[in-house]
Symmetry: C2
Subunit: 190 residues, 2 copies
């Protein structure tokens, strides 16, 4: 592709606009997310680690870092804090000694489920902001352009895991009287 005809000005106007939009949205999401999980003495990174480890059986610390968009050292340090609270355990894989793997304990599973049970439809302001779009078009936006941009930056496997954890979530949870509960399973989740 020849982008030489595209100007610096065009680039800065697009990027600055996009920077402002994503900052405004992330700051709103961040505030609401923190508020939601505060009663469980978790921060966003810790909650993400629990969430990813719950849905991605046998996740390594570097998987968690990648799919949680955090530094490996952040993923490791917060995993360590969760381990101290007996919410997860670390392990090494016999086939792959370089990576450290994490697995939720039953207390970790339980704590994640408690946060999901406490979730209310108005937890996130971005959801309320998206409702009129749902009313108008009959469905929530797909954000295909955002996904195209993210695929470029983070690669195909990031998007695959992203879609996969959403599908798994859809299958693993049901709802009773507005409260989210896990689908009962006889066999272990893995």
């Amino acid at each position: 592709m020849d982008h030489s005809s595209l100007s610096t000005k065009q680039s800065i106007m697009f990027s600055h606009k996009f920077a402002q939009l994503t900052k405004a949205l992330w700051k709103s999401v961040e505030k609401d997310w923190q508020q939601w999980i505060k009663p469980y003495h978790l921060n966003i990174n810790e909650h993400q680690i629990l969430w990813i480890a719950y849905h991605l059986s046998g996740a390594s610390v570097s998987d968690v870092a990648k799919f949680g968009v955090m530094h490996v050292s952040t993923a490791f340090n917060f995993s360590k804090k969760l381990e101290e609270r007996n919410l997860l355990t670390f392990s090494k894989n016999a086939d792959d000694k370089r990576n450290t793997y994490i697995e939720l304990t039953s207390e970790g599973d339980q704590l994640l489920l408690e946060t999901l049970e406490a979730y209310e439809t108005n937890t996130y302001d971005v959801y309320n902001g998206a409702l009129p779009i749902k009313e108008l078009y009959g469905k929530f936006p797909d954000f295909t352009e955002l996904i195209t941009i993210i695929r470029h930056i983070y690669g195909e496997d990031f998007m695959e895991i992203f879609e996969e954890t959403l599908k798994t979530f859809d299958k693993e949870f049901t709802e009773e009287n507005g409260t989210l509960i896990p689908v009962k399973q006889d066999a272990p989740r893995t």
Copy 2:
């Protein structure tokens, strides 16, 4: 609007997906923005303050906080640091003694312009990610759904200033050989 038929599960799936998308995008933008302005010993908050004060003549600290999506104390503390570097001055308005206003000094103007002159089309990875969309549709995405959500959260005046500063930027800057330069003006900008 009656949203009672919308489920908790629908809400959490939308919000979690959206949270992941905005985190991934913002973290990429944040990294590239920091990298760009690092040679000028500025952080993102400071650069935003310079930028907003440049385009919004007679901005108050609370305007800067609002349109920069930062806490008022953050806006104040970083403005203070910029004042110590002689990049801006504080003032009170005779008609409105409660607010503190900031104005860039010529050094502040100059530093912002230097950062813009140093901007290159590949400064932001999100821009490169959006280029294939531009090739396909002949224009960059408008992100109308994101703007709808932001309007709900931050209000109409946030969006007005957002559009206004982009328009001002478009008028005030031109480009020569791929470098961004301000349009020469005989009269002062205000």
